[in-house]
Structures are given as structure tokens and as C-alpha cells.
Symmetry: C2
Subunit: 723 residues, 2 copies
Amino acid sequence: MTETTPNPGRKSPLHDFLAPDSIAIVGASADPTKRGYKAMVGLIKDGYQGAIYPINPKTDMVLGVKTYPSLEAVPGDIALALICTPAASIPGLMQECGRKGVKGAVILASGFRETGPAGAQLEQQVLDAARAGKVRIIGPNTSGMFNLHKKVNLLALTNIKAGDIGFISQSGNMLLSLVLEAENNGHVGFSTYVGPGNQTDIGFNDYLRYLGEDDNTRVATLYVEGFRDGQRFLQVAREITSKKPVVVYKSGSTELGKKAASSHTGALAGSFAMTMDLLRQVGVSVVYHSDEILPVAEGLGLMQKARGKRVAVISDGGGQATIATDRLSEAGLELAELTDATRQRLKDILLPQASLANPVDVAGSSDANPALLAECMKIVAADDNVDAVFLVGMFGGYHTRFAEHLLGDEMRGAEAMIELARHNDKPLVIYSLYAPVKPPALRRLHEAGVPVYGSIEHAVRVLAALGERGIYLQHQARQSAHPAIEPSAEMQAMFSRAQNEGRDLFEYEAKALLRAHGISVAPESIAHSADELAAVAATYGDQALAMKVVSKDILHKSDAGGVKLNLRGADALRTAFDKIMTSAKAYAPDADIRGVLVTPMAAKGTEVIVGVVRDPIFGPVLMFGLGGIFVEILEDVAFRAIPLSRHDAESMVDQIKGSKILQGVRGAAPVDKPALVELLLKVSSIVAAYPQVSELDLNPVLAYADGYAVVDARIITNRSVMN
Amino acid sequence: MTETTPNPGRKSPLHDFLAPDSIAIVGASADPTKRGYKAMVGLIKDGYQGAIYPINPKTDMVLGVKTYPSLEAVPGDIALALICTPAASIPGLMQECGRKGVKGAVILASGFRETGPAGAQLEQQVLDAARAGKVRIIGPNTSGMFNLHKKVNLLALTNIKAGDIGFISQSGNMLLSLVLEAENNGHVGFSTYVGPGNQTDIGFNDYLRYLGEDDNTRVATLYVEGFRDGQRFLQVAREITSKKPVVVYKSGSTELGKKAASSHTGALAGSFAMTMDLLRQVGVSVVYHSDEILPVAEGLGLMQKARGKRVAVISDGGGQATIATDRLSEAGLELAELTDATRQRLKDILLPQASLANPVDVAGSSDANPALLAECMKIVAADDNVDAVFLVGMFGGYHTRFAEHLLGDEMRGAEAMIELARHNDKPLVIYSLYAPVKPPALRRLHEAGVPVYGSIEHAVRVLAALGERGIYLQHQARQSAHPAIEPSAEMQAMFSRAQNEGRDLFEYEAKALLRAHGISVAPESIAHSADELAAVAATYGDQALAMKVVSKDILHKSDAGGVKLNLRGADALRTAFDKIMTSAKAYAPDADIRGVLVTPMAAKGTEVIVGVVRDPIFGPVLMFGLGGIFVEILEDVAFRAIPLSRHDAESMVDQIKGSKILQGVRGAAPVDKPALVELLLKVSSIVAAYPQVSELDLNPVLAYADGYAVVDARIITNRSVMN
């Protein structure tokens, strides 16, 4: 059930059977309701050029093609086997595939892991047999696959075009839904589809690599209920998104949805918000509504990216410009500030009542001359302040709305827009209220690869995805990897001691680790007995001090009466020490108490939290947020997979809703953001360098106008990692 | 520019001309590009049964209909005049309309208020002339109107059906957009459309009343850029929503959008979040995305309401059930808990692998028998725990997906669903991935008034609107109006004193007002000089006290050094008094200082804020929120128009994101919500009873496990209200 070993530099092995030269259909049948019949029809009707080998011991011919009694009876090589027989037959068939040298098998049968322990055992037998024979498995429990450019239409779908959207979907119905939307849309086509099913052998990361390498795919699109190796997926996605857009819809945004998803596939699903942050971190274009999947995939496939988020809106009046502005703003896009020269050029061709500020409202200027809109688009596209052009209104419907004879002018306008799209690198996105009725100018635009949307909301999602992708790529290009750090021998020894004692790090040890790698931590002293307090007091003079119990057995120090604050002088320390010892022993009589930690009280600052968890799916993940209610009530936190880039660290500080507080409110000075960014990067480096760190919690860190103070640090060790 | 006088009990005067028996077209023309020609075509083609009077002094006939040189030359009565001539001609024409007894005029011309002061003056002349002649005005600057049931198609739209959606839209393009969506959808029709234009005479509230009274309209739908008399609109909406659904899309959800909207129509727009709260308070079904307007209007028109928010989902497998669950949960809907009896009944007809918990997954049970889905719907609809039924999947496409011969079974399934929809009061909503290609079973469902959606997102918006409306109506039914209070003579006198002195209320006066009407306010004493402090100290014994300066000229008391806290005993009071006087005089040498207010320090509690503003559009509005960052950073506040019902007060406390804090966090006891609700109701009653209150600010109020304390109170007086 593990995923494939990474093998960077090599081409994905999936090409061998996802673009197969020969196909065997195990369970080929003359019964038209059977998958083994439908797949044959799909291959023959679409004109598949490779060899087709129906396997069926009970008949000589299926659909006029000679059958073979078994895979081994086939005279030629078999790249791909589509297996339509029930679960119990699969382990034996995998052995046979191995003997025959079949490269890949699509296993449709269900009745495996998703049904319980017996099914899981059967699935393991299937995997073992496949591994032994070097057969790769799609599924089991898959809806199947197609590769339309190779005319491998194993799903026998009709009314589907070959095109540039690659799709991997844990729901076969979601494929059908997109195919039907595309049929209605009339212009979107697909390259390769795979249903990963139980992901027994091949997982999302492998499929994504394949789509990334596939020349027929311009945008990789994924419907995911759960990842199995999220960490590997992030690595592959980071690589692929640098070459082409990757669109992901992830289900399970709510607890109820997660439950519904896991009863469906048994896939694990982490926190949705975290998953979204991590996918965006590696440049994935995330969509949140299922009806946005196809529009966003289409737009990214056609236009790939925008330089940034500054959109120029050209409208022919009406409320749609206002709606577009609301949606753009909600999506984090900006209205481009048009230059004076641009406004002058617009003024030269528009009526006096036109509004030249963005959104540009031509206010009737195009009523008798719709091609004028193309001129406006050209003018704003030439403006350096503009990253994308958004036409909003009734283009395509002028001849219906005003006068039949405007059709010619509309067609000329469409040609001018097509020309503009071809000869400039800024995306053109068109919303037309006439899109639902598909008038000629809009059909022409669509045919020529200029996308037209019938929903402002969808069009804006496309613009947002284009802008986000462009900005991501720029950051990637500028970015050098954050340098790794070397673990120190002293710290390794400290971990060894803790692990030998079967405990987590003490607070002072955790702080020592941080300090050893350049994180500012307040000084501290450890007193093992009351006798040492006088010396400790002398160290800090008249500073106010905090004292905390040191014991591996006391996790919640405050609850145990193990914390005393605002202490000054040796006498105060001694009284506090006695109280702490009494309370702690009362709280946990058997606790192994090693003494107390004494540290100067931190100055008041803004509480932030830095945490690290090792997510079972995505591996080490860093969390950042403001303390108190922001974390506890509002769950206002940002996540990034480790290691972080500088941009990751900066963007996570900016992402949280409470970032306004960090920028300074009610006249307070802003906190030292560069220092926080350094802190995040250092924590990331430490966790990357020390696999012994299982979880880390700096809570609170006090952020100041100048620097920060780590007030409390907790590190849970990974007991399974040996030094 | 004022709106019509309310006249409850009387039928809306708009019926006289929105369902006119005779129509004059001023500016009727033989030029096919002119509105005066198109309107004639629309009337004649659609078969308008009333009299048509083209007005044009230059020709005898337009489209075969005899013309008249002027309105006054027309022999019969004229109910409605469509005026297609330019702005300058309108004042004269209004006089003529008045003389002729024309009931209503649709004025298409622009060039009025929206163009600046000269246009505004012309608009006033138009209004004055109309008022004098008792002519009501639609527009000016309107896109026009239609009443399809009367065959009054003045917009000459083709491919549009008479139906039950009434639509009022400040954007003519938005009408076109809905009409084109409806054309594509094939089953939605419209009753009356009006573009209110500049709302010079008739505003949204009047149109809404008309649609509320119109028997052909089952759902009133509004696209609003700005209200002119929001307070009146809320009154009318409250009345109409009790009879039929009212759907509102309001543009300007963002600052940029608001700017774009106001440059378009010049309409004022208040805070978007406030507007949404107030619309929902009166039962309006608010939509946030423009592409949801038609689906939600259609669904509410057909099904009116659900009893509640508990939805049963029936799915035929695949990811759509998961997506539906995510969206339902995000929309605040619930998955109904099916009874054991219901599950047993499902079990009896489904395959063993079916999932009987909600969402119900038939897991292949319907593959050879799609009508089974109708049986499942019937079973869950009979469950008392279920308020609405949501079918999700590929119904309608079984004969395409599996076998042609399933078409008959699908049609039988559709009939069974139609039957179920007719004979049970729970909404049935269907999402089918085949909706885009309109297969026969889905066409049949749609024809019979069972709505089918091609977007899960839109279907869920419909379910949410149905549930919210049902719950609203239940609250309305249970609700008695919160009793009004009588203003007291003493308090009236206090306001008079303040107004005579041209000032707002002092804090102690504001608190006296609150106290006079039953709000708990801590006791306080006023010391006009240091001599009175000993007596004050004696009153409070050893309680810790706060002292604040009393001066109409010092608004920000803390900044002026005018607040001292934690004072105990006469000496401390005296020292504090001297310091306050010194600081306050230094801060504002000319200030009129009346002394100090002394009050016991409030115990620690949860800070909340209660505020009242008089909004220029919506009148007095109460705001509630948590103090500090919740208000300042997160803008996490709720609004209700005054007067509030008990449900209003309760729901606004629950609505804020910070309500979790009021419920108690980290082991803290929950605050006394009933006491807060009483406080809100009392503040509402006070503001309703005293028009002298312009703004009110209780900040902070400390909420406790038992009761609350108003710590600071500020009341800004309305200087224009005389006692």
C-alpha cells in the first residue's frame, strides 16, 4: 500500500501503459451491459490504433475481434490489461500479468480494503502479486481510465472531445459531470482520465507526475477525497506546477463532509484548512466549489497565468460591472490603476458620458459598434499597470438586443479579440450575459481559445487563479532554498539522553536547542535545590523573574502550582521554590522533579504561537498564529509544509486575519515582522535537521517592535528516531 | 424625490398602470432601432388586449396603428404612457399627462440627477409636474417595464415566458441576463419587471408592495444597487415576506464595488454587512452571488419554504454526496437524523452495500432500476426528522449511462417524484449531473414544477433559502411585538436641558435614562467640588472606586487625564480630584467642567458593546458585538433595525463569531444571555420612545455569569428634535 519510490530525472513509468500500444480486455463480453463489452466498443468506435486482445475462454470472438483464452495465450506484448472480473480472481490474474510482462492493469472490481479487514487482506495479496511480477496497478475499485489522444476510450464515453485537460478523480460521477458540462459548453476537451480507486499501488503523486510530463495535457485537474502520501504529493506538485497549472478540488471542507467522504473511500483526510494552505504553498490552484472545477481548468489550460492581480474591467454599462468589481475585490484581485495615457486613448474613442476609470463603462459607445469593445480591450491590455483584461456585459448579443445587422460587427470584434489574445501575454477573460444562448461571436471566440463565461463568479475565479499562479511563479523564480542547518553533536547527545530516559525534552533543553541554532530565547538558570537560588538571584539583579518547575512528569505546570511570577531577590525565590515543591508534590506525588527554571519576566508584547506537527499525511507542518482567542476561538492560523521558503514564512504572517494586529492597532507600533520571519525559518530548519523532533510548540512567543521573546518552548520527541 | 406616503390597508396604486388597460407610446416611431418602435412590436406581437395609442405628430400610422399628435388628442383614457423622448421634453409631457389623467408614466430618458446638479434640477421639475397632475413616475433613466400576464411587453423581449417571478432591477442588463438564463433553463417565467431607474417618485418599497399584492407573482426578486428609503422598505418587506418569498441581491459588498455602483446610479449605499442583517431580519432571502439569483428565485417560487434545516440526501454514489454534504454544512443546514424505522424501510429495498445513514448512498441499487430513487425519496420524506429531500447524482442519465431501455423506468421515477412533490409539504430538490444536457426525465420534472439543478452549489443555496424562510415564518408566528415604553416627563426635561445648552447628555444623564427604564447601571455620585468628596466616600465604604471628569467639552476623558481608577477612601478621592482638575484644565483650558462622577469599579467580565446609530437609509439600527479586537479588527458585529423583537435580540447574540466566548471558553462560565437580551430589548425600546437620542454607545458593558454592568454610556442628542 506504499506509493512508488521517487525517481527524479526519470520519466514516469506510467507512460508505458497510460498511452498503451496494446490492450487486453480480461472479461471481454458480448453482453452490452458489461464493462468488458463497453470498453471494446469504446476502443473500436474511437479507432484505437494498437492491438486489442479480448480475453475470454468461453468464446472465440467479441465484436468481431478474435479472443484468447488467457493473457498468456496472446501472441504479442500487452502494455495494458483492463480487468473486468470479480475481486477473488485478481490475485491469480496479477501473477499471470507478471508472467506475461503486462506493464499496467486497470482493476475495476470492488470488494477490497473499502469493505473491511478481509478485503484489505485480499488487496495486499493483489499488491504483492503485482510487485512480484512488476505490474503496476490502477485501482482496484476504479472507475477506469481513458487517453483520448491515443483513442483509448475504455469508458466508452460519447460526445467527448480530445483536449488538454488531464483529470484524476476519486469519483467517476465527477468525471461524468465534467464531461456533460463540457458537452454543453461545446469547446472543452480532455487528454487522460484516471480513477485512482483505492490507490493500492499508484497514488495521486504518480498520476500527477504523469500528467505533468504528458505533452497533451496543459492543465492537470484533480478531484481528491483523500491523499495517501501527501508529503510526496507536495514534492511532485511543486515540480509540476512550475511547468503547468494544477487544479485541485478537495472534498471534506466540513466535518460532516469528511465523514461522508471517508465512508465512501476510506481515505484519511487531515484538516481541510491545512491541506488548502499546503496545496497553495506548492503552487496548486485550489477551487472550493465543484461547479468551478471545469471553468477554472479551462481558463488555466488556455491562458496559464497572469503577471499579477491587477485587472482592467471593460463593461458596456449595467450592474454587471458592479458585480464584477465586488467579486474581484472579494477574490483578492485589484482594479488596475489605468495610466493617463490609457485614459486619453479610451477618451478618444468613447462617448463623453463614458467612465474612463476602471471599471471602464463605455456607456452606450458600443451600442451601434460592438467591435469598439475589442479596441478598448487592446488599449487597456497595452497598459503596464494591467495584468489581465476582463470584458463584462452583453458582447455576442448586440445583434439580438439592438439590430440584426450588428452581427457582422460583432464577428469582426471577436476576430480582433482573438488577434489580441494571440499577440499579447495578458489573459483576456470574457463574461457575457448571452453566453447561455451561445451566439455566433461567442462560439467563434470559444473555438479560437478565448474563454467566455456565463457566470461572473466563475470568470472571476479564473482571473484569480491566473493571477495567483503568475505571482507564485515569480516568487519561485526569485527564491533560493532556505539553507539547511547541520545538527550539532551536543544537541544530538541531548536528544539521546531524553530518548534513553524515555521522555520529551525539558523546557530548558528545548530552549537550548533553539538557542543553539540562533533563535533568541531569554536567558535562564536551573536550580536543582534551594541552595542554588542565591547564586541565581545574583545573576539577574533586580529583574522580575519567573520560576517554573522542571519535571518530565508534569506537563501542565500552572495547573500543578508549578509556576510563580514577578519574583525579585533571593528571599522571594526561596519562598516561591518551597511553594512550588509543595504544590507539585501534592499534585503529582510520584513525579520526578529535577528542580526549577528561573528566567527574567518577558516584557509585554503581542502573543503569537509557532507550532510544528508531523501530520500523518503531509509530514512536518509548521503552524503560525496569534495567541489566545485567535487560535482558540477563531482558528485563525496558517500552515506551511517544512522546509519553508522565505516567501512561505512571509506569506503566512500576512495570511492570518489577525495580521492587522501585527501591523499595529490603536497607535501601537507594528511588530518586527522580519524577526518573526527569521524565527519561522529557523524553526523550519531545526525541524528539518532533527528528525527527533516530533512536535514543537513555542507558546507564547512575544512579538515586539524590535525582536521577539520565546517565553515557553515544548518539544515532543519522536521515540522511534535513533541518533 | 421623497417616496410615496404609506397607506396601509389600501391596494397599491401601482396596479392601475403596471397592469394597464390602455397604453400610449410617446415617441412611437417607424424606425426599427427606436424604443418607440420596439415597444409597439412587443405589444402587437404578444397580443396586448388593451388600447394602444401611438403618439407622434409627424405621422398617421405606426405599424398599422393610428397615431395621435398628442396625448390630449387621444379619445379614450390612458392608464400608462411610455415616454421615449429626450430629457428636456419631460417636464412639459408630465403636465400634459396630468391634464389627460394618465395614471403612470415610464420615462426612459437619462440626463437627470445622475449627470449632476442641472440634471437634478430638471428631475425635480419632472417630479413637481407629475405630483401636480397626480401622475406616478417609473424612472426616469429606467430600462422600462413589462407585465407578461397582461401581455404588456414594452421591452419587446423574445423567448420569454409568462411565469411567477416578479423582478425589480436597477440594472437592465441584469434583467437580460436572467431572461437568457431562463431561456436556457427552459422552464422559468416572469410576471412583472420594472427598472426603477432614479426612483424619483416610486421606490423599491412601492414596487415590492405591488409585487406582494400581484396574484401572478409567487416570488418577488430584486437587484438593488441602493435603497432610497430603506426604513420604509424594511416595513414593506416585513409585510410581504409573510405572504411570499422576497429575494434580494444587493451589490456593493466591497468598498470597490460600492464605488462602482454609486458611479453608476448615484444611489447611497450603507454598510453591506448591516444591510444584509436588516434584510434578513425582515425575512428577505438574501443571495450573495449573481448567478444564484435565478436558481433561488425559481426554487422559492416553486416550493415557498421548508419547515426547517434538516435535509435528507439520497445519492447514487460518487463524490457528489460528499460535496453536497460539505455545502449543506457550510450553508448552516443539517443532515437529518433518519429514524430507525426509516432506515429499515430503506434497507428493505436497497442492496446490502447501501449506506443507510444520511447521506443515503444506494450504492448501485438503482443502476437497473432508477425509479427506486423516487421510492427512497418517498421513504425519507415521510420521516418526521426530515424537512427537505435532496436527490443527488445522475438521475435522468441512467438510460445514457447504463442502457437505453432504462428510459421508461426513469420516466416512471420522474412521475413518482412529481406525485410526491404534490402530495407532501416538504421540498424536493434535485441535482443531476445530466442537467446540462436536459434528458427527458429531467425535462418532465421541470415542466411539472420540480426544480432540477446542474450545480450542487446552487441547489444547496435553494435548500438554505427554503429552510431559512420556514424558520423565519415560525418565529414570526410565535412572536408578539415587544411592548413600547412611555417616555417619562423627568427624562424629557433632562433632554430639554441638554438641548437648550446645545450639548449631548452627560454620562450620568445617559445612565439616568437607562436606569429610568430598567437597565442595570452601577450606582454613581456626582461631586461638583472637592468638598462633596467626603460624603461620596462614605456612601461607598471600602469599595474600589472610579472617578471621571464631567464636561460637555471633553469627549475623550482618558486622553485628558480625566479618569482615575481603583480609588479607596476620601483621601484617595481628593488626590484624584485634584489631579483630574489639573490635567483636564491643561488639556482643555476653556472647558466647562461640572465636577466628577464617582462610581464603584466594575468586577471583571466579558466586554460587549451595544450601540445605536441612525442610519441615513435605514433609520435607527442597533449594533451588538464583543469589545476590543472583535469590533476593531474583525468587525464581528450584528445589526438589527429598531424596534427589535425578542427573536431579533436573541439571534444577534448568537450570530457573532465571538458568541463562543459568551458561551464560556477555557472553563469559564457562560455569560447571562437572557440578561443581555433584555438589555438589547430595553435599549431598543428607549431609542424608539425618545427620538431625541441620535446615537447611543454602551461601551463597554461587562457581561457576567449573572447579569451585566453598563460601565460607560454615551448618548448623542438629536438637536433637531424638540420636546
